[in-house]
Symmetry: D2
Subunit: 350 residues, 4 copies
């Protein structure tokens, strides 16, 4: 690599194609409480309560549910040049779009990256009121911040090399004794991640995660979904992650796009922040309380679109699958290494 | 029934036979933080932090893990006469034991009740320091109070009639369109229950429940079990109950006895407190977030002992089983009545 | 006393006369989130989210802000006869009013009690939906239950004797070495109190208290008041009480009526529940963290009305005042008995 | 300024001189739960539970309670050269000390900065176990991270210019219509601050702040201090800051050094993070709930030492004092601008 990579500040927004804009608005605004910065009949721009840039999530109505863009903010306008040069050197498709191409956003550099994901980089962006002090607008499940993306790709080792070259710092990963890397987490800001790679057929988006202040906010979101008789939108959790030690909940939106609600990982801003490696057979790696990961969480993910809006074709994962090696007849997980006690968990019993 | 039933104040203590006293002490004292009031090599008397009577739980080492007594406090010494008369009129085995028969407890009336459970009634009891103001002794998962028992019996309707005659007030139940009652909850104090009946082969003890102040206390208990690499002691939850609306967690102790940690049900002290009836097919009745109930939660329970310490033989349940009618090939559960969407839950996928 | 006192279940509602119904509605409904059961241009009937009886608070517009009734629920209709007889035997003014005298309430027995307070007793009452499961209606500061009243009267000893004869159980009190009782707490339901007596010129109402589930709910109410630029409605707290060990907040409504928001006291339902006596000079008795009690909290209270709606004249307290003996030039409070260190508290410095 | 300033990662440790090492150990370890990395009879090295570097706080016994060093971590070893050059260009005293000068730390650049504070910069440092997953070691008031310092200096404008030149980003400040700046906050990591300047006689240390995960952790610390009869160590709070919107508590250690416990400010990592300016007369700026700031909080602060360990002489503040312009006869604060209502707060009444 010859070009200096762009100085990325953080994961900033996701553009989501949804099949029914009204249904998605109801989910993200009425149920989850994201704030509408701007909307028309075609697109809705949403932000979390403590965000000050124009949006963290764009919902755009379209024929095929998919992810159209993973938006990363860079540190200055000249980093757009760095982004363009970096991806051209990588031989990727790159399009530089003028201000206004994205509502509320200045010039953007759009790329289809080596893994097949539609990344885009921007610096200039309209500011919106940061509602940090507007507790009167906070519901009991208040979402305050976009935290990270999670991407599915077939080869986590190759993907990690690409992200690390792009300036991301690895914070945690899951590996096996067989030398296989099953997943890895990468940060730019001071949290455990701005994005992560999950091994599987890809490129696909695994989920987008938003943060709350406290754990009870996440529990309330579950209670509210129960009250609305929409508990079947809860795919997994709430629970405590092993990786990141965050408290989590996974929901599925009306199109099946996966949303994580997340709180309380740890500070990772030091240059020598210790990388945590988990054994793929450690049953507490994905849920610290040892609960089974639901199969759909491993198998389902969102289509991503190329720069022309066409679905990016999938490549299969060739290495071992985390689900296969940990669940079912050929898999195994332990609570205590070298201890074969099975316990009472639903995953052991169903 | 001719005799006036005894005026019961609340569920007060459980005597548990455990196979390894040291292992049980480690679980209840070191992990869960119950307070030792008194102990010797044979028995340990434990109480919750805000309790002022001598104990809420007796651990006694014995050959067969079992429940030897469900202790209920009555309002005055003369209620012991009422208890004796009531159970004699019912034709039950009754033994009146002098003060000191139970460590820390005055005279007790022991009965093997019509359902086969070893109930015992007491008024006089030694007081122990109520540690309400001793926050310095509180861990992050502090258990403050015994909340209730839960008993398995074959015929919930008959069992309910017996408990209601004994002065318990029904607060909630689970029924089917088929006319079957699957479970019911009964209170003396101002909470949703002092005991409950769960349909199944019985008599057996389903669980004993302790209360914390807040939900994060329960989450911490899970985190701690994870840290101790004992997450396999978590059988079900944490979650939000439909019935009672309490926040819950089910653990299994070293002998497999089931312990619930529970918080925040609602006030039920009014005489016309509305009874809440749940449809057995409502998937939110047992978990408001719609998560599957693990089979062992339905099938496993603790042996109970008669007044001579012998296991009480089981009678099979003849009516439909809640597990069978809600899970698996012949069962079904709905999130929204008349809506067959299945959602992403582990119970749907495994 | 010859007549058996009525069997009181709990404190159930308060009728509050307010000077501007719209302003009070805005405070209790829009800010605090109480639920409107029924309203017209003259009266608003409000309840907490988990209440199932028609109301816990009646706001009635009138010329002089005052308390018109302290409502207690009794265990059965025949307890109204007991109430009538009890108060007639005490020589009090008693009026028995037919169903409908109070909106949503059946027959009531209204008395002006020996301390000069307008108590009223009822059994029949319209039920309203208990919103326990309607988390979608819960704000972040959700108020779930009426907890207690607090009354100011000149002679706490005499007042306590009256309440204990009426069947209330003393749970805590504040006394001095001088033999003076400064305040006392009294329960019917299983909490620390249904009402309390605070020494001072009376009869007046000190406050009415509502419960939340958790402490963060109370903190949110403060945050919201800040966001609304109404933080000057916060009179005292949030903090931890010594007495009751509950977490608390005192607000003043638009007429200056005092509202407490309260959570997590302890179970008191046993007949021999230990009474806790606090030394009036213990600086942690009213605030476990040792913060000064604001003078208005001692001096201000609401007028109460007699059965004809006229303000009840005040009698002065003759015994020592808690404020005088604990604050200022002639008072003292200690953190550790016999230790004169003063610490950094605002009360020590301003 | 010609030299490029050092690239500072974050505030990392404080060296505190204490008069009684055992008393300070009891406070920081037994009461607050900081973790001992290493100790001898002269010094104790402590860290927060989620820290991975050797220490966040050094307690060293000495004759005069004081702060001997504010430690900042830089991004790489070569940034030590930048630090040295930067401060030499500023004409400051600079000492470069070899590895081992500080226990657990590599080479350090020590300076007495233009404001008179003993700053020191380091990169190499011993790692210690990050206890993020060791919930079994977490008390109910678990402190997880050092968050920031706060320094008192006479001229906030000059001090801010120095810090901004050093690469700190201003996030918030307090100003008056008179053009005076009373305080300002400065960040390197993604939180509201790594350090702040409070106007007053200086140089002195106002406080050091540690973070918890949730608000209830802070409330518990108060409860525990009450239980230990040490509530007089609580100087101010708990409360919600206006500035930073964090939840806070101020304690005083056995020598009077001020410790803040702090949680939940907001993300500030973007280059154009909006600066929030507060009016000095806004009564919610320092406490969002409008509670009075105790005078000692304005007047008391810790001595700082020069590079030889001698107390740095104080310079008086010449501009208006925040305490004077907001409290007392000549000061004023408003809840709503142009509204003179005074409310019920203790600061208004005492």
């Amino acid at each position: 690599m010859t070009a200096t990579p762009p100085d990325i500040v953080r994961s900033a927004y996701l553009e989501l194609v949804v099949s029914d804009l009204a249904a998605s608005r109801e989910f993200y605004v009425d149920v989850l409480g994201l704030v509408v910065t701007e909307e028309d009949g075609r697109e809705i721009h949403l932000r979390a309560l403590e965000e000050f840039i124009h949006h963290n999530l764009v919902l755009r109505e379209g024929p095929v549910p998919a992810v159209a863009a993973f938006g990363f903010r860079v540190r200055s306008p000249r980093e757009l040049d760095a982004a363009e040069a970096h991806y051209r050197a990588l031989g990727c498709g790159v399009r530089r779009e003028p201000a206004g191409f994205r509502t509320g956003v200045g010039e953007v550099v759009r790329v289809l990256d080596p893994l097949g994901f539609p990344y885009e980089f921007f610096y200039d962006v309209a500011h919106a009121p940061r509602l940090t002090w507007r507790s009167d607008l906070y519901g009991a499940g208040a979402i305050v911040r976009l935290d990270h993306f999670n991407q599915v790709c077939p080869d986590v080792v190759a993907g990690a090399a690409y992200l690390e070259e792009l300036g991301f710092k690895r914070t945690e990963d899951i590996r096996g004794d067989d030398g296989v890397t099953y997943a890895a987490w990468f940060a730019r800001k001071d949290t455990v991640h701005d994005t992560a790679l999950t091994g599987g057929s890809g490129p696909r988006m695994h989920h987008i995660a938003f943060a709350t202040h406290e754990k009870h906010n996440i529990l309330y979101i579950c209670d509210k979904l129960g009250a609305l008789r929409r508990s079947d939108a809860i795919e997994r959790g709430p629970g405590r992650h092993g990786v990141s030690n965050a408290f989590y909940l996974y929901l599925r939106d009306p199109d099946g796009h996966r949303i994580e609600i997340y709180t309380q990982d740890y500070y990772t801003g030091d240059p020598d922040n210790p990388v945590v490696t988990w054994d793929v057979h450690d049953n507490q790696r994905r849920d610290w309380w040892g609960h089974a990961v639901v199969p759909s969480w491993y198998t389902d993910a969102s289509t991503v679109l190329d720069l022309d809006g066409a679905p990016v074709p999938l490549r299969e994962r060739e290495q071992a699958s985390e689900m296969d090696v940990t669940i079912g007849a050929d898999g195994f997980s332990y609570t205590r290494k070298d201890d074969t006690a099975r316990g009472f968990k639903v995953g052991e019993q169903l």
